[in-house]
Amino acid sequence: MTAISREDVAHLAKLARVEMTPVELDHMATELDHILSAVKRVQEVATQDIQPTSHPLAMTNIFRDDVVKPSLTNSEALSGAPAKIDGRFKVPQILGEE
């Protein structure tokens, strides 16, 4: 049994706004299945005394003081924008909700 179906991949592609052809979906389903199988093998090795981690470093509590530092200027902030009006980023109309 595969860990990830072609439908799962299609769903993820939709969520990630990635357009994929049927051939690509098949290909990616197979590839991701390989990856997930490998992860599954690692999980078999992991036991109760191994803490799951999201970081390679055993660090906690990295904070900064609440001090304001200069921001980008308006034109710097907008310098990479494909479209802008009145100091704001212009984006295509948003459908669906307010």
Binding site: F63, R64, D66, L72, A77, L78, D86
Partner: protein, 503 residues
Amino acid sequence: MTLDYLDYKAATEKYEPTLGLEVHVELNTKSKMFCSCATEFGAEPNTQTCPVCLGLPGALPVVNAKAIESSILIGLALNCSIAPYSRFARKNYFYPDMPKNFQTSQYDEPICVDGYLDVEVETDDGAKVFRVDIERVHMEEDTGKSLHVGGSTGRIHGAEYSLLDYNRAGIPLVEIVTRIVPGTGKYAPQVARAYVTELRDILRSLGVSDVKMEQGSLRCDANLSLAPIGSGELGTRSETKNVNSLRSVERAVSGEIERQANRLQAGERIVQETRHFLEESGQTRPGRSKEEAEDYRYFPEPDLVPITPDANWIEELRKRIPEKPSIRRKRLQTEWDCPDKEMTSLVNAELLDVVEETIELGAEPTRARTWWLGEISRLANEKEVLPTSLITTEFVAEIIALIVAGELTDKLARQVVEGVVNGEGSPKEVIEKRGLKVVSDDTALMLAIESAISAQPDTAERVRGGNIPAAGALIGAVMKATGGQADAAKVRELLLRHLGQGE
């Protein structure tokens, strides 16, 4: 609608509401949650952004320590446990107000869990306390602001394009989520309002947020479902967003109870959806349907390390939790012997703190309240500023002390307040410069009295003969001679005694 439309009363006689509330509060830190951009309200668009809050490639976030501290304070004030280990997570979705294409939030490891808040609601059987259980308090970041341009209605559907200002993106937000509140019955709207009010007061007393609902620094979403009374079931819930005042919280809940009851009554089902509250009508209209469950693909934020607050730090913060505002209000009201109506005025005008300080500085409670609510508030209204910005509690206490000592009349004191407010200096300086002191010095008064008598010898003679009311003319002359700064009762006493009519 047909004849069997259920009004609110009929709706709550038939259905049991179940309430849940989510409150988002913007913290009042100087800098943003994960970067050092300023958080000032009302700045020019896109002048408070940087690679981190714009989501530019390679930018790395660093957590604002003050935001963590504020979140822990909120959790402690709401009787929560503070998690010894919590993490940030990415909530993935595409929306233009979220430039990173994910919101840095907390998912299954929030910083505070399992608290409660007791709120009091007036019921048919008197005041009743409802316990609202808090499920979690978690940290996240605000989104940018969109402006929709074009289209006929101004609503998004007709918009041709949207304009984005990311100044607000990345401002620390704390989300406070209740468990479902059972057993409120027909009082669900009042419980919702009392909860948000109490929460707002607590947040204000902690000093962690501006809690201005009209500016959006405190926002409430109300979840509501109905089930037939006694069924023991939980109905399908709707989530009403965009509720921007305390009154609206109450109206949104009662409106939604009525709407859902009538749908159920008509044999329709409730759709799980987000609804938008319409301030003008008090109604809600449907927004996004949640039939297709959202899939945010949360995962631990790889750019931020876990938060493990030190137990000593938490205990230090616990010491900073002030008295619960509702308890403090009751205590002060008793101590000051203050009528309900006046207490409400003080609370609404946010003058409790200054009145308390003024009293602590020695002022008599009734006078302290009257001066802050009366003359000072009146001047503040005129100038369209806050009363607390006009004059210090020290000066108010000083002026009240002078009144009590008989050195100022109320009328003179109003002039002193006016002088202080106009920047003429301290009360002492104003009194000096304007020559406002009450003439209570007996010698000075006697001189004025004697000159009045010598100016009106006939009147004086009549008083000597027992015509006490005739003294009025002499008293008037003395008051005129002293520029109205003498204490009239004192003048009368001295004058009558001088003319052989004193007791």
